[in-house]
Symmetry: C2
Subunit: 337 residues, 2 copies
DNA sequence: GTGAAAGCGCTAACAA
DNA sequence: TTGTTAGCGCTTTCAC
């Protein structure tokens, strides 16, 4: 069923049907009614591909995410969907399986799918990313990571880490270990959160001790392993641990619990991300909450604005966060605060 | 940059470039190289919209889900993405916010976007769903719900519920309450799981007692409320509770814990879904695990097969499940089994 | 082995 | 107010 079938059935030309469909141009009330009747009867709806080709507008944006099966990503995508839906945009989704190199493939692929803008949730930006993004003549907004010269919306990882470590220091902790990740392309987590950790130490005149730092993976098991190493390899034990993600923190707690080391009295623990689990660990985990739904909304609105008003999206925008203090750092909260 | 630009730069016609691009028809090695060189230099990739219009093939499928920000949906979509990616299909995603009526809108909308098949994760099927799906001349595979005459892949909700309730009965429980939901359109959860519950009672010659049944919402709070009512309104208290979802079960446990009623000795609790939280409640919750990643893979493979081989997808396919027995029904597992 | 031309389903400028 | 026509960027006969 296509426009000329409707035209034939209604006894008019294709252009007239098109006018009725799009409410454009002149068409007499009588003919409009007749055409509309045929459209309603047949349930006809125009082929969007043909329309897109003609209009040079697909009303589609691309979203590149590292993985879908993740609490945070799901929220971000949900928010993006809702914005898009409101504005009449469709979403073409790509998934990189946490592979920063695949992000580049996806950028190109979506571009050739004629998307009008791209939301890139990156796990690591390289100069090639920048080169490709610059070569695409559609707006691209990056989140998750930040790089000078690109338009990025990202969490204020450095200050979040700093605030968290400061809180521990203010609770009397003096030897706070750092459990980090060793993903080289990553800046937001590995670099920024470590900088925040060091900022906090510097602020309180505590010397940075490389013996209290370990690098591992994004897993609970890796957290347990790093914690065990730090504990066993240091004569003077740490009295606190800052893990760059909640999963790692939960892993660290598993070691401490197993060794019957009191949390937080002997060793406080804090993570980042407010993972669903962190509320239910024993003790509950102090962490930083980022607002992914809000982030998704902000970037999508900005992207669509940028598409429709042909404004260049630029600048690095830091999104605010909340520190969630629970009993893993503060005895006050011990009774499930 | 389009095909005729490449043609001009290479000093050939557009058809020749097209042949090089698609490895079709005859083209001399010499010209092929020259054209390829221009393509590589310019980074040209054909406009997929134009190609789709010509080919009448978009290599795109639609996915309709009730919400993205959900553990189970995320897994399903992740699996679908991976299958699609392998087979060269793209995904156009729609989200209904749990509104069964919106599923119909999305079906139509995706159809007019020229998707070649649709995966519908439904929260409730009506005869209108069936009418629309039948009218679309592309394969549609339904999951989450089942209806005669449509192609459905769904969890074996009835038997899962039956098995779970049987387990409780075999542990000596005799008055098992049912916490259900009151969503009318829903069949899989409300109807099938209740049927399974009744099957189990019947199997053990236990009479169904409507006083032990309540209907509420898909929330923890609703679980607490229903449990409270059942407890207070029954002279002879229940000694077990089967909740149709883990969230409701967790809500019920909150009431029991608050009232210092021993779980599972005084009252056992079981849910369905293996929510991430259910492992961490105290006591850990006995539940049914469905395999969403496998489900997503199965339906997507079937859908693509159906598209490519023009076979009609049909039948109701039940996906298997695992019972996860934890300490909320079985003291044996008390030490975090 | 290569190019010209038609056509995918739609819209919009122009003619009537 | 309505219809005719050209063209969006590509592929694919069909001639050469």
């Amino acid at each position: 069923m296509q426009i000329k079938d409707i035209a034939r059935l209604a006894g008019v030309s294709a252009s007239t049907v098109s006018r009725v469909l799009n409410n454009s141009g002149y068409v007499s009330e009588e003919i409009r009614k007749k055409v509309q009747a045929v459209i309603d009867e047949t349930g006809y709806r125009p082929n969007q591909i043909a329309k897109s080709l003609k209009d040079k507008s697909t009303k589609t944006i691309g979203i590149i995410i590292p993985q879908i099966a993740s609490e945070t990503m799901a929220k971000l995508v949900e928010a993006a969907y809702q914005c898009c839906n409101k504005k009449g945009y469709k979403i073409l989704m790509e998934n990189t399986q946490l592979d920063s190199q695949r992000e580049i493939e996806c950028l190109k692929s979506l571009y050739h799918q004629q998307v009008e803008g791209i939301l890139l949730m990156s796990v690591g930006l390289s100069s090639e990313h920048k080169r490709i993004i610059d070569s695409l003549n559609i707006p691209v907004i990056v989140t998750g990571q930040a790089m000078e010269g690109l338009c990025c919306y990202t969490h204020d990882n450095r200050n979040a880490a700093k605030d968290l470590v400061c809180k521990m220091i203010e609770c009397g902790k003096k030897r706070i270990a750092l459990l980090n990740v060793d993903i080289q392309e990553d800046d937001s987590i590995r670099v920024q959160r470590e900088l925040g950790y060091r900022d906090a130490l510097a602020l309180h005149n505590i010397e940075f001790d490389p013996e209290l730092v370990r690098y591992g993976k994004f897993t609970i098991a890796s957290g347990t392993e790093m914690m065990e190493k730090i504990w066993n390899e240091n004569q003077i034990k740490p009295d606190g641990v800052f893990a760059v993600t909640d999963k790692i923190a939960i892993g660290a707690m598993r070691f401490l619990v197993k060794e019957k080391i009191n949390i937080p009295l002997e060793c406080a623990v804090a993570g980042v991300g407010n993972n669903k689990l962190s509320e239910f660990t024993d003790p509950a985990l102090t962490t930083v909450e980022y607002h992914y739904f809000e982030l998704g909304t902000a970037v999508t609105e900005k992207l669509i604005d940028s598409i429709e008003n042909r404004t260049k999206a630029e600048g690095i925008h830091l999104i605010k966060y909340d520190i969630i203090e629970r009993s893993s750092t503060n005895e006050q909260h011990s009774c499930n605060g």
